[in-house]
Subunit: 209 residues, 2 copies
């Protein structure tokens, strides 16, 4: 019988099924929203019976919550890695910010559907997964806030900046620009988009080169 009882190691088959369900759900929910997406649709897209969805997840909401946690986890890890890599390379905090912008763009480039879905749900209230979303949001934004705070400490950034608000604004800048990119000019290269945002970050919009 082998103690394959799903703890830790996890059975391969089950894991594969879960993955298929995540992928199906992320696309459909990004397109239509959570409530407009049916469990039948998710199952069909994943090539699995409806019962399988409920064998693997307690409910539609739970499936969605785990999806959120998983996705934002990837983003957070990626942002952290970007910040740490510049630190290791002896770069300043501006460089760290710039690297995180790129990491954000790379993430959105790879998981556009997840990003859509995340943005669409983030500011809703009165939803079951509200608290999950807040926790997970905070983890990601905190990485940006951390870099800003360190920059203020080292004097690289003005101590007059509002860390929380500035972090939110930076995240918004990347998020909306990237979604615009994917939606309306998908032919642009990532480098192109990154360059435009870098310019904006460094206040090089106004005249002087």
């Amino acid at each position: 019988m082998e103690s394959s009882s799903a703890r830790s190691g996890g059975s391969t088959r089950r894991e594969a099924t879960r993955q298929k369900l995540y992928e199906a759900a992320v696309t459909l929910i990004a397109e239509q929203g959570f409530s407009a997406t049916t469990v039948d649709e998710i199952a069909e897209r994943a090539g699995v019976a409806k019962g399988t969805v409920y064998y693997n997840f307690a409910s539609k909401s739970v499936l969605f919550e785990e999806l959120l946690r998983h996705g934002v986890g990837l983003l957070t890890a990626s942002l952290k890695e970007a910040a740490e890599a510049t630190a290791r390379a002896g770069g300043g905090k501006v460089d760290a910010l710039d690297a995180m912008i790129r990491a954000g763009l790379v993430f959105i480039d790879r998981y556009p559907a997840f990003t859509q879905l995340y943005v669409a749900e983030l500011w809703r209230t009165n939803r079951a997964w509200q608290s999950t979303l807040m926790v997970v949001r905070q983890e990601a934004v905190a990485v940006v806030e951390g870099v800003l705070r360190e920059g203020v400490a080292t004097g690289e950034f003005s101590d007059e900046i509002d860390v929380q608000l500035t972090a939110a604004a930076l995240v918004g800048m990347v998020l909306v620009a990237a979604l615009d990119w994917k939606s309306f000019q998908p032919e642009r290269s990532l480098d192109d988009v990154h360059a435009a945002l870098s310019r904006l970050l460094q206040g090089r919009v106004s005249g002087r080169v």
Copy 2:
């Protein structure tokens, strides 16, 4: 039910009912999303019978579409007015941008629910009101793009900036920062938030005061 029949100075009774329905719908849909909000709820919140909803709007979707058109119309008008006012006052394009940031914040401050709902629906695909949304989005973003283009023409902005992407990024900056403000630090004043974003816009984040 308050009757008070409101004298109807210029607006018909019908217009008043429509307004009540808009207000009820905007709050509920912002909280729960379109599909999770029922027509019965909207009617109840508006203090109106369900039949009245269908007497005034062809369907739930149509009610929502007209809501979108109406709301974004207000925003667009407000942005235009801000840009024109600075022009009249002899301000430069940076001032125009700054005034539009403020106008955006004022709008979000007054209609937070509408903003939530708008963001949540903007990047969805496969929805009935998709085309309405695109048209209406473009009208608003075009105002920002216009100012950027004029600034490039007058040499006030670098001609290397990507107008479309920069406009999207600016909109995103204001949108996300404002939603963060309303959600997590509602006690902050509008001036405070505006100052933080101005700083970011003008690249005054880095060290030197």
